[in-house]
Amino acid sequence: MKRRGYGMVFLLLLPALLIILAFYVVPAVLTGTMSLTNMDHRLSWNFVGLQNYKQMLQDTILSRVFWNTIVYVFGTLLCFNVTFGLLLALATSYIAERQGERTSMFFRALWLLPRFTPPIVYGVIWLWILDPTRNGLLNGVLDFFGGKPVSWISKYPVQVIVLTNGVIGASFGMILFYSAITSISKEYNWAAAVDGAGWLQRIRYVTLPLIRWPLMFVTAYQTLSLLTSYEYILIITGGGPFYRTTVWSLYAYNEAFGGYYASYRFGYATALTLVLVVISMVASIIYWRVFRFREMMSEPKIEVI
């Protein structure tokens, strides 16, 4: 009976296991193996040992890329994906209370629009907004007030990539936080109000502690997501000016496929990618332990009426 029970468990897990095997384990092993080759456009497996990793140590651009990645990931996370997402959730839940659910939903839908927009369209819209000449939206406004055009991307490269990614990323936190906030038992807020707590105090002492788990989950999930995202940077700044906005994943992409005649340094690019995998794994372990995710997984933490 017991053996049959294990068999059933294995059978039920099998589809998920196969998917993980095919789409995570096999590519990871292939990436690891490829990083030991000097594979180029001819896709031949010429093993060169640790040469790519040695080259990484000599790559003068890489330290710049590393710091760009840190600033981009945590800048976007702190300014937008968590903080701004939380503000949107609080604001829309407040609107829901005062103006009704429909109005609140309208504002949430508005913030979801960038996420529904195809990346290339979203990127092109930003390129127009940030155009360095008077034809751009921002420079057009400046021009109207008699100002000189500003080359936004070259003057504020980091701010541009944080903002453009953040406007999309904020909606993820907004949805999760909103549902968490609305799940909080109303009695807590009423009790706090009776005790004389103002709106801000209720947020500080009631709402935030009760949505601690979603906050931590969004922080951890979005860190990993931002570490590997580069598509909007590629479209909007191309990683420039001169690597000011090149993050690790974009650098790896460029080494593989970028450049006017394309680089096709697949060996070196996969070595770079593998470092990113290691960084992601370390970050996951840190989050797991520091945020005590085991506790979160063990029992529901949001009380629902």
Binding site: D131, T133, G240, F242, Y243, G259, Y264
Partner: protein, 458 residues
């Protein structure tokens, strides 16, 4: 009963006709499909695909005339996204090598030949085009064959050629007091080294100080071989053809990077030039005149500006003039870089002879001329220069005067890496992230990553 008989008869008759039509159709017209992948990315160059389609139609007329039971269908697509994505598509398909995926013909840059030929993806054309040598190919300008030759074999049929130039806003020159004669004489002064890059910079300052422009000097934002023109202008070289090695000429590269750095420091070129979108560059120089000079211009812009930005040719003549890239110093020379595109036959193609024949027909004088006129490209055949439709174009005739000073990119597999590295360094010095000397070091690092010590550093 009679009705049933009639129905049965009609059914049999219909089946017989259908069967006959079907079998006749197959026997009479076996259709061979030839597929081609062509690239702009500039949209006016669509005849790179269309000429192959027309060649197929002409071939079918000939086949019909001789009563042959075979027809050709040409399935040619035209890529208007960037070079990078076109090459990625070619490379991934070629590496798979499946003749159902890889087309029979590529139209791409002559620079792709060393990489693609050495990878075994292309078919050498010497024998395939030999039957048409006297009738067609002998008429081609001989130097174009050098650009498609690699390891002693011909891998491509030149499809077009162009010149690059510096575009100047004529209206701003006039505003500075230049007469028509002085403007007309500028091209000669550049050619004879009376007007150097330092004079160009001085002119940019004048335009700025007179409040005529926001951006006195602009250049292409993206990577491209254009930047090597400045290396030559400063007396340097980038390729040793005899040794088949890339050359890193420290002094000329540093002078080139200093030129770009100084312009950015002085505010003559926007320091974020390498982040500009292409349309902003085009609008600044060709439409709005907020730029004074575009120092990495190409003759095909003339067509793009008309087709994509809706400006008339008369307006372009009124507002713009052009010259070679001026020399940078005494050792340097004025020059411009040509970048021929070529038809190539793929190694996996099942119809190589037919592909070569179609390329030959697509290279007819009238077809290549319609491409030249539409896309603003130069002639590849001597007889085109006497062809009425070609000679009627004043623009092509004027631009063709720059041809004697043409240089080409290096026919070396790692030249792409070198090109990207130079562009990176230009971006680096313009933003102040690198000094010109550091820029040269970065180029050396990038190139040696690709070719090891197999490079000449002077």
């Amino acid at each position: 009963m009679r009705t049933m008989k009639r129905v049965a008869f009609l059914a049999v008759l219909a089946a017989a006709v259908m069967l006959l039509a079907f079998s006749f159709g197959v026997a009479a017209k076996e259709t061979i499909t030839i597929r081609a992948w062509t690239v702009g990315p500039d949209t006016p160059a669509f005849h790179r695909a269309e000429n192959l389609v027309t060649a197929g139609e002409r071939l079918n007329q000939m086949l019909e005339a001789v009563g042959a039971d075979i027809r050709v269908e040409v399935d040619a697509d035209f890529w208007t996204d960037d070079w990078d994505s076109f090459r990625r598509r070619v490379i991934l398909a070629s590496e798979e090598g499946d003749p159902n995926v890889v087309p029979d013909i590529f139209v791409s840059s002559h620079l792709d030949i060393p990489v693609w030929a050495s990878s075994g993806w292309l078919e050498p054309l010497d024998e395939l085009i030999a039957p048409y040598w006297e009738s067609t190919y002998e008429d081609f300008f001989p130097h174009l064959w050098d650009s498609v030759t690699y390891n002693g074999k011909v891998w491509g049929v030149p499809q077009d050629i162009e010149v690059r130039m510096v575009f100047y806003r004529k209206d701003h020159l006039q505003a500075l007091g230049w007469t028509e004669e002085e403007i007309a004489d500028l091209a000669r002064r550049v050619e004879e080294k009376e007007f150097l890059l330092s004079d160009l910079v001085a002119l940019a300052r004048e335009m700025r100080d007179a409040g005529l422009v926001d951006y006195p000097i602009v250049h292409r934002p993206t990577s491209g071989p254009d930047f090597f023109q400045f290396v030559v202008a400063f007396g340097g070289d980038y390729y040793d053809a005899e040794a088949d090695k890339l050359v890193i000429d420290r002094a000329a590269l540093e002078a080139t990077l200093k030129f770009f750095a100084d312009n950015a420091n002085e505010g003559l070129t926007p320091d974020g030039m390498t982040t500009w979108p292409w349309p902003a560059v085009h609008r600044a120089i060709a439409i709005e005149g907020t730029a004074g000079m575009q120092i990495t211009g190409g003759m095909w812009f003339w067509a793009e500006w008309q087709r994509d930005f809706g400006i008339t040719e008369d307006e372009l003549w009124e507002n713009l003039t052009w010259t070679l890239i001026p020399a940078g110093n005494e050792q340097g020379r004025p020059n411009q870089l040509g970048h021929p595109l070529a038809y190539m036959v793929t190694a996996p193609s099942r119809h190589k002879e037919l592909a070569a024949l179609l390329i030959t027909l697509a290279s007819e004088v009238d077809l290549n001329t319609r491409h030249a006129l539409e896309a603003a490209k130069l002639a590849i055949r001597r007889s085109q220069t006497a062809f009425p439709r070609f000679t009627e174009s004043e623009y092509l005739a004027e631009a063709a005067k720059l041809v004697p000073h043409q240089i080409f990119s290096a026919a070396h597999a790692a030249f792409g890496r070198y090109t990207s590295a130079l562009h990176e360094a230009v971006g680096g010095v313009e933003t102040g992230a690198l000094t010109p000397a550091q820029g040269v070091d970065l180029i050396i690092q990038r190139v040696t990553q690709a070719v090891g010590d197999d490079v000449i550093i002077r």
